[in-house]
């Protein structure tokens, strides 16, 4: 940090982020429950970043719990397993848990009610396995990042081996209000989670693991500290409760005191960030040979009668989950994930996926929907932004259709955390503007790629046409020459014959 930088820091201390009401209790304190097995499960083929998995079962086939339904396809993808035993009823489109309400492919499973596990082989000591083998098993179990990004975990572990990781950062921040699934996991499965962390340390070759937990979860901190006793390589680090502490880069900065360079990753600095839920899933995959077929989901919000954390099989409908906890009133908004970054659900008949950390049934008061007013340039958003952007300038430009102007103001560094919209006194949907602009820019990028591809095709065609013409001409010329030669030979022969005849 240069002298000028220090001077600026003095003038303008970085008070990034916001302190929303966390609404975590009483849901966080309610004991973990399990969702009764629904009759049908709708298991999407794409529950991760990357390409959709390829189904390897047929309609009508009966499957067992944990059986592979669809295999990873391409470099970035993840396997999908059956969440219960039953029959494959259909393979087709269901509505995605996504604000667009668009469909995506899923395997519909009619449960037989036995919930019988497939024989997944015997467990071996993961520490006896070579690290790549651990990563392979994690991949085979279909484990993805459970913090919400759903990046295939095995890839990340492999990346760790390649990038010479020395520190594993375990994200137990859970900074989103309302959500407590990680809190519950750390309280109830601290030993398993710590074991998962140790396996991940082994798989990546990292020397130490830092577990960052927000200090508004004292029970989880206590449980994890107790579980980590005796493992000097694992340090439980309480961090101040402040949104978005759970952002990968911000948690990293909080724990290590350095910033991740823009356009870079934490792996560039020798650190790999994983969610606590992922650690638990890795433990399940390696110790119990169990693929990722269920997760803990926080069901919360003013409209929920009995909020709490629930073990939900992947593919269960939100409708089933809400029926289980009961609704106090008709929710004004149904959200999957946390209130700050979660996505609005088009309706209740969407499946729970691996990345679903929470289902929120918010009342009108909680959702706080007001018509936006004009920006008064109060710059609350500037101070709330954890990245140091100027949301008011970016949104004004996007509203005027000047996307490049917004990019010049750092749109691409925006992490869509929602702090700006949260504090805006004019209720301007800033994040909505940024989502729109990012999507539009991505579409433009795709169009650009298409244009370039088209150009290559045109060039190839021109070359082909030219070659065809040339070859045709060559063939024609050769034929002509052959014909001429044949004629000449014929003429010569006939001449010879005639001369013979004459002689």
């Amino acid at each position: 940090m240069g002298l000028i930088e220090k001077f600026f820091a003095l003038l303008e201390p970085q008070h990034w982020g916001v302190h929303p009401d966390d609404h975590k209790r009483p849901a966080a304190d309610a004991p973990l429950r399990s969702l009764p097995l629904p009759e049908r499960l709708y298991i999407p083929l794409q529950q991760h970043i990357g390409a959709a998995a390829r189904p390897i079962v047929l309609v009508g086939q009966s499957v067992l719990k944990g059986q592979l339904l669809a295999e990873a396809q391409g470099a970035t993808s993840a396997a999908i397993h059956a969440s219960t035993s039953g029959t494959v009823a259909a393979i087709g489109d269901v509505t995605a848990p996504h604000p667009s309400g668009l469909p995506f492919a899923a395997i519909t499973l009619a449960a037989d009610g036995d919930d019988r596990w497939a024989d997944t082989g015997t467990a071996v000591d993961p520490f006896a396995l070579p690290p790549p083998e651990v990563a392979r098993r994690v991949a085979a179990a279909g484990v993805v990042g459970l913090g919400g990004a759903t990046f295939p975990s095995a890839l990340k572990l492999g990346l760790g081996l390649k990038a010479e990781i020395h520190t594993l950062i375990i994200n137990g921040g859970e900074c989103e209000p309302y959500l407590s699934c990680d809190d519950r996991l750390m309280r109830d499965f601290a030993t398993e989670t710590v074991d998962g962390i140790r396996i991940m340390l082994h798989a990546t070759g990292a020397k130490q693991a830092l577990v960052g937990i927000e200090d508004n979860k004292p029970e989880a901190i206590a449980a994890m500290t107790a579980a980590a006793q005796g493992y000097s390589e694992i340090a439980i680090r309480p961090v101040p409760a402040r949104y978005p502490m759970g952002s990968e880069k911000h948690l990293f900065s909080e724990l290590t005191g350095t910033e991740v360079p823009a356009d870079g990753r934490t792996t560039d600095l020798g650190a790999l960030v994983h969610n606590v839920g992922t650690a638990w899933a890795v433990h399940e995959a390696l110790r119990n040979n169990r693929p990722l077929v269920e997760r803990i989901v926080t069901v919360n919000g003013g409209a929920v009668a009995r909020p709490g954390n629930i073990r939900v099989p992947v593919g269960a409908l939100v409708e089933d989950v809400l029926a289980f906890v009961g609704l106090r009133e008709e929710p004004a908004r149904l959200v999957m994930g946390g209130p700050m970054m979660g996505s609005l659900l088009p309706h209740r008949r969407v499946p729970v996926v691996k990345g679903s950390s929470g289902i929120l049934a918010l009342t009108a008061v909680e959702a706080a929907g007001f018509d936006p007013g004009p920006c008064i340039r109060c710059s609350s958003c500037v101070r709330a932004c954890p990245v140091g952007l100027l949301p008011l300038e970016m949104s004004a430009r996007i509203a005027n259709g000047d996307l490049d102007g917004a990019v010049a103001f750092g749109l691409k560094d925006c992490i869509a955390c929602g702090c700006c919209s949260f504090v805006c006194p004019s209720r301007i949907p800033l994040v909505h503007y940024f989502n729109h602009a990012k999507g539009e820019l991505a579409a433009q990028g795709r169009a650009q790629l298409r244009n370039e591809a088209a150009k290559r095709l045109v060039a190839a065609r021109a070359e082909r046409l030219e070659r065809d013409a040339r070859e045709k001409a060559e063939v024609a010329a050769r034929r002509k020459a052959e014909r001429a030669a044949a004629k000449a030979a014929e003429a010569a022969r006939s001449a010879a014959a005639s001369s013979e005849a004459t002689t």
Binding site: A96, S100, P372, I398, D404, N451, A454, V458
Partner: protein, 182 residues
């Protein structure tokens, strides 16, 4: 009088001479932008812009007789890139981007005449004589040249279906604020 004429002549000569030297020194080659613009264009020479091929459109854009929004297959992306290249600002929200369209073949009508195959600038249509043809979605630029070639009207342009991966958040609709003393 003589002095005035002389001094003006002298002044003109001196300034003219100076500018002449400067012109030599600061000479700029002809507009290099045409080539740069042509490089940005799709290059499929589909002719939807009304200019003879992409090179013709590039020349027209460079000299300012065509707008940067002239190319329908290029869409907003190209218009934005061109505007950036030319250093001008345009309101892209006004550009009619009715969503990309690509060609599709009604299989029950196609007679396998191969005319469209020959017409396609990007070789996006595959098929052999007396066989039903098909359009490769990824390669089709949506230029529409094949439509008129089809003798049975089996060829038509269809909008590209929106998928989860390609969905874009719509621009927020801002209804005028009605503040209250809440």
């Amino acid at each position: 009088m003589i002095a005035a004429i002389l001094s003006l002549t002298l002044l003109g000569a001196v300034l003219g001479f100076g500018l002449g030297i400067a012109a030599k020194k600061f000479a700029v080659e002809t507009d290099a932008r045409v080539a740069e613009i042509a490089a940005l264009m799709p290059g499929s020479n589909c002719g939807q812009c009304g200019f003879p091929g992409c090179a013709g459109a590039a020349a027209a854009i460079a000299e300012g007789s065509a707008t940067v929004t002239v190319c329908p297959p290029g869409g907003k992306a190209l218009a934005g890139a061109l505007a950036a290249k030319l250093g001008i600002s345009i309101d892209l929200s006004g550009v009619a981007d009715a969503g990309p369209k690509i060609a599709a073949i009604a299989e029950e009508i196609c007679i396998g005449c191969c005319r469209c195959v020959k017409e396609c600038p990007t070789d996006a249509i595959v098929g052999a004589a007396k066989q039903i043809h098909a359009v490769m979605r990824e390669a089709c630029t949506g230029c529409g040249n094949c439509i008129d070639r089809c003798p049975t009207e089996a060829m038509k342009m269809e909008p590209v279906p929106v998928t989860l991966q390609h969905w874009v958040w719509p621009k927020p609709v801002v209804t005028e604020a009605e503040p209250s003393w809440a």
